[in-house]
Assembly symmetry: C2
Homo-oligomer: 388 residues x 2
Amino acid sequence: MKWGKSRNCIRELFEYGTVRKAQIGVENVYDFSLGNPSIPTPECIKESMIRILTEQNPLAIHGYTSAPGRQSLRKAIADDLNEKYGTAMEAGDIFVTCGAAAGLAAFLRGVLMPGDEVITFAPFFPEYTVFTEASGGVLVAVPPKEPDFQIDFAAFEAAISEKTRCVIVNSPNNPSGVVLSSESIRGLAEIMNAAQEKYGHPIYLLSDEPYRELVYDGIEVPCMMNFYDNTVICYSFSKALSIPGERIGYLAVSNKMAERSEVNFAIAGASRALGHINAPSLMQQVIEECLDATADISKYKENRDILYNGLTELGYSCVKPDGAFYLFVKALESDSKAFSERGKAHELLLCPADDFGCPGYIRISYCVDKDMIIRSMPAFKALIEEYK
Amino acid sequence: MKWGKSRNCIRELFEYGTVRKAQIGVENVYDFSLGNPSIPTPECIKESMIRILTEQNPLAIHGYTSAPGRQSLRKAIADDLNEKYGTAMEAGDIFVTCGAAAGLAAFLRGVLMPGDEVITFAPFFPEYTVFTEASGGVLVAVPPKEPDFQIDFAAFEAAISEKTRCVIVNSPNNPSGVVLSSESIRGLAEIMNAAQEKYGHPIYLLSDEPYRELVYDGIEVPCMMNFYDNTVICYSFSKALSIPGERIGYLAVSNKMAERSEVNFAIAGASRALGHINAPSLMQQVIEECLDATADISKYKENRDILYNGLTELGYSCVKPDGAFYLFVKALESDSKAFSERGKAHELLLCPADDFGCPGYIRISYCVDKDMIIRSMPAFKALIEEYK
């Protein structure tokens, strides 16, 4: 059997938490493990679902759609991107997926040839390794640029080679919360364009952006398509609409891509091979109706401010996140797994960032109840005092 | 780009139909192309959805579930199997998938090693080839046993070899509607047990049974797990509940399987690599509440009887289907694609069975409006008269 028992570290910590909460009470465990949205789903999701269920023929609601999704939804998504970013996308360039994970898996499966390399920047989402390897590729991680976690151009240039087929960026970033600046993206595009010319084949920029709408203090997330032609966006509605269990997102292939048609076919073919038939049909209609909605993210900002201010005052060091709902904190010893274990003794569930390609750090998810953050502060204080 | 533009013949015919209906009116095209359930979704689906949406916290409704599904749903599915078939399944042996396609893809991906062979019996669902090859395997088709489409034991024995890792059966069958008899399954199990002993490794029986509940005239579908220990059931709720667009089904690993735990891990690992996070969360709750429901299948039986009687009276020859919603008809010339083309001239959309491994036949889906079947009879008459 080629599939082992290796598990996702986040899930492991979460499941430890479930057991621990049963032992000592849910209010006594400070669970910062999971990136599970905590702000209410916008009302329009419920309203739209109930209206569709009440008004329409169930066979139309629950029937197959075409594999890339309802034509009207694809058109609405393309229009939405065009309005927000000034692009010129068309419905045919949108493939509606069962969430971002399925989109990443399908795109990599579609374009990678055995031995191709995929570059990403630490810290990065651990599943990139899984999806790349499952598609016959090799993930190459560019070391983090501390302390701002923008792009280390020299390290990126050193990593890029003839084997590079794809570069994955994730901004706002899980786990650091950092938003890539226009300068970073411009430099990235320059290096990639030069490499394409040098090696004579396309290098795709896969922009994984499920946290795109979760940014604070008026920060703007630049659209990669406006910087680099061979861009594919992978989006999920999970985070912005607080519906992660419903599995819906999309891939968008830039209309400026020369091999646009081939890449669209590759996505469709690979999705089919992965067992994709269509994204859940009722949810496709709901998303079309709720495309302009976002959950009220001011609560995440409030959480971020309490946590960031509280921890830096206590003496922890971390980069201030502009987006997403993670705080990336330097562990107080070099072994972040050991640090995470010591956190557990104070009932703090902190995810070591080794699997994110960034040992020495821990990830704190602040998509949690504000009161839990406030209650956890004495535990963080006790933890740092142990190291003094 | 390794993914070409090859398309599913059923989808192609369906899309031709969409265009044709716009040209000459929907009532003038006799579209038998798609296996899209046509009887109303049971009311309990709508009622359960609206109740959950009204009563529960949206974050609980739409949040992540564990990857194999909600524990209570897995338990309910195991109990349901045990009650129906006298098995002793446990919740841990159930993995809830995004439909049968995702289940087949994950299982094959989980257990196949490069070069492994998967045997199936013609006629068979064309996607078996896609899922097998995407997992590094080779699909071996055992020729059909005409006219009853049960199992040709000699041909099966000739096909089985040291390379055989898995055998896929699909009963009730798409496209023939045939239900495998207990005798067929007993013979199959005997040959497989002998082969396991001879070659010294497990050979899995993958029972793809989305049509399990769609049987007529009191026919029973035997449970493969009661005949063969190394059985995995792949089920979908699409057909029995008329919700094919919602993408929910499950894999069930027999509790009698020696390598049960390894296979459960293999399914989980492969699913993760294919981009599975969890099956749609609201629908998981709904299925748990509606597990006993089935759509009113008497309409399919009515359709089958009108179509079967009508076509055989006209002189067509076909096996009388005991289940599913397909009629498998001998084409009136050896080239069934040419026959399908001549059908189009009479506005009949009939799917040639070449891609099902059974050239010389066409598939007629009778999950359609009864009136369309009645209206189509003169066209079938005109078509057969051309061949006289």
